[in-house]
Every structure is written in structure tokens, then in C-alpha cells.
């Protein structure tokens, strides 16, 4: 299925055949298409990594900036033009490693963006070192004895920080991934979607089958508005739950709190400077 987010000429991707990123790309474009989003109103703010290259393959606006910095860029964009739909996207190293501090504080701000993290539990683009989400004992060319640090738990941390929408998907199930992404886009406020996906080149342990075997769907009765229940789920690792693990309704967003938009909803680019007022300000000194 092609969407309005596809290029006329399909660009050559630089991903490996079999990589989970293809499914994420396809589904994201479909989800955005089905939500009838105008690509001109959409910006993908991406970091650097295999995951982040997704911004190169979507026919919309993009800011493909620095490794680890997609969230501050996204924040600047959204705060300057709240009419834009802003997606901050990258890999597990990108968002939780280099970008860890922004991850924490973007959540605290509750800026109305979708934060999509392609979590393959490895650094793909730099050829296979451990990422913050790598499981213990995972061996790499840098971690020869295997990883010894506790894996970063983005779900639990996001909930702890008061994120209002926290979900996990698996690239192997496009249908559910699409539903989750659509909900995330519709959600007002910061929305985290951590997507498990296999890296066929550098993660031979957490491969497609492993993700299949080590995940399950939250059942229908699960109440994802109960924070403590959600945290319990977040700590499950024998099998990782998939779905919207936590959502707490809609809180005031960062943009809504800005005094700049209190009496004037226009994005910044539509505004003019009043030089007379400045003259008065100086004179009043």
C-alpha cells in the first residue's frame, strides 16, 4: 500500500535486508496516512543511527540532526509552531544513551510530540556495540565478556517521570504496531512508543524469534490507567508486554503552559515585532 508519505521514486534505503526498520517505516507511513495527516504539517525530528535514517525515507518535512538530540530539536519546533505534528525518532542508543538527559526532561515537560524509539538492543550503525537496552551478558566486539550493566528500562522510567502515554510495540506485528502508533499520534502530550525490532546484522541473540518468544499482548482487561499496575508490567522481563502500557488521560502540555500562546494562538512565524514597544521599554529604563 502506498501512502501520501511515499516518495514518487522509492529511495534506496541503507538498511540491511531483513531489518525490522522496514516494517516500522511502512507502518508509520500507513498510520500517518490513515490519520489523514497532511505531510506538510508533519515534521520528523531524527537523530543519527540506522533507526534515525527513517527520516530520509518519509516524504514530509524533516530535521535530521545530531545523534541523541532529536528531542530538543522537536521541542523547539513544537514550541514555535504548535500546529505542527512532531515526531522525534531514533534508536535505543540515540534516545536512551547519548540522548538520555533529553529523554528524562522532555517527558517532564510533557511536550505534545510522539517519541518513537527503534529498540534493537544494539548499536546498529556503529557495527554492533551494546546499547543501553542490551540485555545482560550480551557479547559484542566491545563487550567481549558480555554486558554487565542493568538494561535501561524506558517504560518504567517514562512512567516514573509522569509520561502520559507509554507503549511498546514489536516490528513483527505490523497491525498492532499501527494501532499503537495511531493512538500515540492522537494522544495529546508526550507519547513514547518503544518498538522492539530485530537487527539481523549485529544482534544474533535478540532476533525475530526471540522477540516473538519473549513478548505477549496485554489482555483486554488490563487497565492501562493504573500507574502501579503499569509499573509492574514495565518490570516484566520473562516476557515483555506489548501494547499501550500506561496512559493517564491528557494533561496540560508544555505548549499550553507557555505564556506566549495564552492570548495569541498564532505560531511564532506569523507574528510581527513591535519596534515602538521596544522603544518605550528602553525609554522606561
Amino acid at each position: 500500500m502506498t501512502t501520501i508519505f511515499d516518495f514518487d521514486q522509492i529511495p534506496e534505503t541503507s538498511w540491511c535486508p531483513g531489518c525490522g526498520n522496514f516494517a516500522i517505516l511502512k507502518v508509520l507511513k500507513e498510520a500517518l496516512g490513515e490519520l489523514n495527516i497532511d505531510p506538510k504539517n508533519l515534521v520528523i525530528s531524527a537523530g543519527i543511527g540506522q533507526a534515525a535514517k527513517i527520516s530520509q525515507y518519509i516524504n514530509a518535512n524533516c530535521f535530521n540532526g545530531l545523534h541523541g538530540r532529536a528531542l530538543p530539536v522537536a521541542t523547539g519546533i513544537k514550541a514555535s509552531n504548535p500546529d505542527l505534528i512532531v515526531v522525534a525518532e531514533g534508536g535505543d542508543g540515540d534516545m536512551y544513551g547519548e540522548g538520555g538527559n533529553h529523554f528524562i526532561h522532555a517527558i517532564r515537560r510533557n511536550i505534545d510530540i510522539v517519541n518513537i524509539v527503534h529498540n534493537n538492543m544494539v548499536y546498529g550503525l556503529t557495527l554492533g556495540q551494546a546499547s543501553p537496552t542490551s540485555r545482560k551478558e550480551f557479547k559484542t566486539p566491545l563487550q567481549l565478556e558480555g554486558v554487565s550493566s542493568e538494561p535501561f528500562n524506558p517504560i518504567a522510567v517514562a512512567i516514573s517521570l509522569g509520561a502520559s502515554f507509554v507503549a511498546r510495540a514489536f516490528s513483527g506485528d505490523m497491525k498492532q504496531m499501527k494501532e499503537i502508533l495511531k493512538e500515540a499520534v492522537k494522544h495529546k502530550g508526550y507519547a513514547l512508543v518503544d518498538i522492539f525490532h530485530p537487527c539481523v546484522s549485529f544482534n544474533k541473540i535478540n532476533n525475530f524469534k526471540w522477540f516473538k518468544d519473549n513478548t505477549y499482548y496485554l489482555n483486554e482487561n488490563y487497565d492501562n490507567t493504573d500507574k502501579m499496575e503499569a509499573l509492574k508490567k514495565a518490570f516484566e522481563t520473562d516476557k515483555f508486554p506489548l501494547g499501550v502500557i500506561y496512559t493517564n488521560g491528557e494533561n496540560k502540555t508544555f505548549e499550553e503552559n507557555l505564556i506566549t500562546y495564552k492570548n495569541d494562538k498564532r505560531p511564532l512565524y506569523k507574528r510581527e515585532v513591535n519596534l515602538e514597544k521596544i522603544e518605550k521599554l528602553l525609554a522606561s529604563n
Binding site: 529511495p11 541503507s14 505531510p39 506538510k40 504539517n41 515534521v43 525530528s45 543519527i48 535514517k53 530520509q56 516524504n59 514530509a60 518535512n61 524533516c62 530535521f63 535530521n64 540532526g65 545530531l66 538530540r69 528531542l71 530538543p72 530539536v73 522537536a74 521541542t75 523547539g76 519546533i77 513544537k78 514550541a79 514555535s80 509552531n81 500546529d83 505542527l84 538527559n101 533529553h102 528524562i104 526532561h105 507557555l258 505564556i259 506566549t260 495564552k262 495569541d264 505560531p267 511564532l268 512565524y269 506569523k270 507574528r271 510581527e272 515585532v273 513591535n274 519596534l275 515602538e276 514597544k277 521596544i278 522603544e279 521599554l281 528602553l282 525609554a283 529604563n285
Partner: protein, 563 residues
Amino acid sequence: MKNDISIVLSGEAGQGIRTVELLMIKALKNSGYNVFSTAELMSRVRGGNNTTEIRVSNERIEAYVDKIDILIVLSKNAIFRIENRLTRDTIIIGQNNFIEEKYINGHYKIKDVAISSLAKEVGGLIYSNVITYGLLSGIFDINLNLIKESITRHFSTKGKEITDNNINAVIKGFKKGKELKLGIQVEKDEIIKNQVLLSGTESIGIGALAGGCNFITAYPMSPSTGVIQFLARHSEEFGVVIEQAEDEISAINMIQGAWYAGARAMTTTSGGGFALMEEGISNAAITEVPIVIHLAQRPGPSTGLPTRTEQGDLNLALYAGHGEFPRIIFAPGNFTDGIYLTQKAFNLADKFQVPVIILTDQFYIDSFQSIKSIDFTDFKVENFVTRTDKDYKRYKNTDDGISPRGIPMQGDGFVRFDSHEHDEDGFITEDPDIRTKMVDKRLKKLESYSKESIDAEIIGSKNYKTLIVGWGSTYGVIKEAIEKLNDNDLAFAYFKQVYPLPNNTKEILSKAKELIIIENNATSQFGQLIKRYTGMEFTNRILKYNGMPFSLEEIIEKLKGMQ
């Protein structure tokens, strides 16, 4: 005492010395005096020893002087640090128990004024401040109504009782001041009353507003934080988005998102924070997103002297970021230029899509001076954003290297910014020829800028034989020294644009027989820059790097020694 008087207030952090300074310079200015003030503060919130200097003169002054004509002592241990600035003529005013024996027994003129007792009479030590203000006003015989009004304004939100007490306090002080009969005579000038008094911080803030700045984010760091706090105070009126970032890296990236989406954004920081922003600056360079950074220098390396002054980060700004790309760096030396250059920074960033850095320092930022009011209708907020069409190419190769910049939702095209080497459409490329073209395109922007480049200003004799070169905050002191020396062979070249070097650099330098550079750093960074570009060498260097600004006496003496 006549025409050029320097008053120093010395006390502890937390005593509110700066409040006295602020009230007093306003009163002086509104009476028609030329004023200049500057503070030197310890890196602490309470205690220690801070001083502030207020100069009152019949002429325009913008420099710090060593000499102290009147010293107001507000706490114990408030003299020893400035002992060497006292002369036989210095009048030391304060309560006896604050002035150590050795000074009382020295050759100084001591005036015992029991500020604490007066304050207690009014209602408590908290009024010492205002007593001091009154005292100084009395000494200068300022119109009492003007003083009272200023108190009423200052305490307007605090209720009647407090205001009344303070008026009481100010009168007490005033009387005491008059009683001292110090016989101050400084010529006034009606014109001064129409001038505006502001701080260095305010000059940057007002310049930013005039440049259309509507977005600022920063991580607090002395002495740069005042700028975001100034804009915060005016955010509602001017619609400025204010956000404290979690760190400087976030700030530098956030403003790129903001410009990308159509804002005019800036950040403000000091050396350590700026160092953390360098990767981000490099990112702005290749994505060609405009950015404006205010870098308020303080002495490094690392934490260094957080509340003191230095011009030690010129190199940092010049070479910030990996890879090769153009940038523009301004260093205002007075507050009119501060407003003007900061305003211009936004237009230039927008037009050339390069990082524009405004380099100040603690001395500049924390000083006050009055300037002629500015006609802001002369200013233009030039907007260079283009509507995109369907085939919009973000990185279109043009003759001047400037590709039209679109923003999302304005036009029919997509706006694709990319930090890899890219083709004209903004897609990743590894093609060696495109790479070369893109490097050239970016570097070309600096040549294009040279048409708008701001020349160095010559102050002093037009037929100079000796040329003094200075930049940024040393402007005031060098200018005053030149004026005082009044030497027909001497001139001062004031660089307010430090990079690229102004077009007239070579010309003005080669006219001189002798070149002297004055810098508030240890390695003469600007001198090295000039040598790097022109090959020209300075015969003499006057450098200072102990955390303090140059004093007028120091410059005059050094210059005399060189002739």
C-alpha cells in the same frame, strides 16, 4: 572634589549593595550627571566581600578606575582587598566598628557615620541599604523629591508601611550626607536626563527584542543568565517563548528546532556551557539553520572564576565545532553597539544561515551606563524566509552560497534539513563532487557577508603613528585613556566585529608605525587572529588576566611607558 568622582561601596554579598548602586546611578543620571558603574562580586550568595564602583563625571565615562574618592564601608573586612586603591584624599565613610584600627590610624579621611544605628532607628538593619542611598544622595545634594519618588517606585509592591519607613530612612541618610559637607562639584548636563540608563545585560536583551527574538532557551550560567531573565520579564508583552533547558546541549539544539519552525531564537551562556554547545554549532553549520548565541565570558579554564571577567574565549568562539564552516562574531564595547549588534545578529543569522555569536564578558554584562535613546524605527526586522514551492530544494546551489530557506507550513514544498553531507534536496549523499560543491557553497557565505561586514572604528587622532587595537569590553577604558592622553600620534581601533576581520583591518593597521594590542586575556587571542590573517605583528601587548577589568590608570600608565 570636582568633576570626576569615584565612589566605591564595599560590603558583603547579600547586603544589597547593587540595589544602592542601581538607585543611586538612576538618581544621578536623572539629575544630569554622567554616570558609570560596575561591580566585582565573589562567587557566593552571602558574606565575603563585594564592591561596586560608581563614577560621576562631567564627561561621558565608560571605564573602571582604580582610584577611590569616596569609600562607603558597609561591613567588617571590607577594606583590605581594596587597600591599594586608597589615597590620602580618599574619604572613608562608615561606622567606626567596620573600619579596622589601621585605617583609622592611617592617613585617611574618616567620616564616622553609624549607618546601622540610623537603620535601627527606622526599624532594623534591613534599612541600611536605603540609608546608604540617602547618604550618597545627600552628599551629591540630589533633589529630595526625586529621591523620595524613586523610593516610592521601588517599593510600590511592598505596601505603605514599608514604603514610609524607607522614605524615612532615605531622609535620615540624606541629612547625614548633607551634613558631611564634602563639597562635591560636578558639572551637570540637561541632556543626560534624556538619556537611558541600562546594564550590559539589558543592552543584549533589548537588542534581541529589536531583532525579533521570540524564543530563548538557556541553562543558567553566570554571567549570562541575566539575558534570559530579562526576556522572561518581557515575555508576555513580546510573546517570547522562554524555556530553561536541562543542559546547554539541549538549548543549542532547541533553538535550531525553533528557527527551523520559523522562530527567531537565541541562547545565552558562558564558556563552559558554550563548549558543550560546539557539536550543536557544527550541526547548525551544515544544516544551515540560523542560530544566535550570546557568549558572556568569564575567566577559565573550567569553573575558573565564575563571577569575574576575562576575554579568554575568543578562540573558543572562533573555532567552535568540528569541520569547516563560516560564522560571524560580534563583540560590542558599549551598550549602543550592544543593542545594535544584537539586533543585527538576528537579521544576519536569518540571511546568511550561519551561527552568529555575540561575545561579551562579565565586566560588560554587569556594568551600567547611560546612552542616547535609540530610534528603533531605523531598525528593520528583516525576514528572509521564503515560501516553498513544490520543487523546493533546501540546499540549492546559488552564486552567493545562500539557499532560500523555507519553513514548514509556509508553501507547497517540504523542508528537509540534514546533518550529513547532502544534495540540494537535503538527502544524504556520499558523492565526492557534491561534497566539494557543498563545502564551497557553505564557505562562500562568508565572502558574501563581507559586503555587510562592520568596519573597525578609529577613535582619536586621524594621523596616528601608534595604533592601539582593542575589542569588546575594553572599548570604554581605551577610549577614555586616549582622550586623557590627548596625543596626536595616538589612535584606538575599536573592533566590534571580531570575525570575520573587518574589511578595513589591513588598511588601518598598516597606516601605523607601531601596533599595540590590549586584551583582557593571557595569550592575546585577537592579536593572534590578526597575525593569522594579515601576518602583521604587534609591537606591544597589554594583557591582564587576573579576573579584573583594566582600570583607566593602568592603561594610561602602560601606554605612557611605551612612548
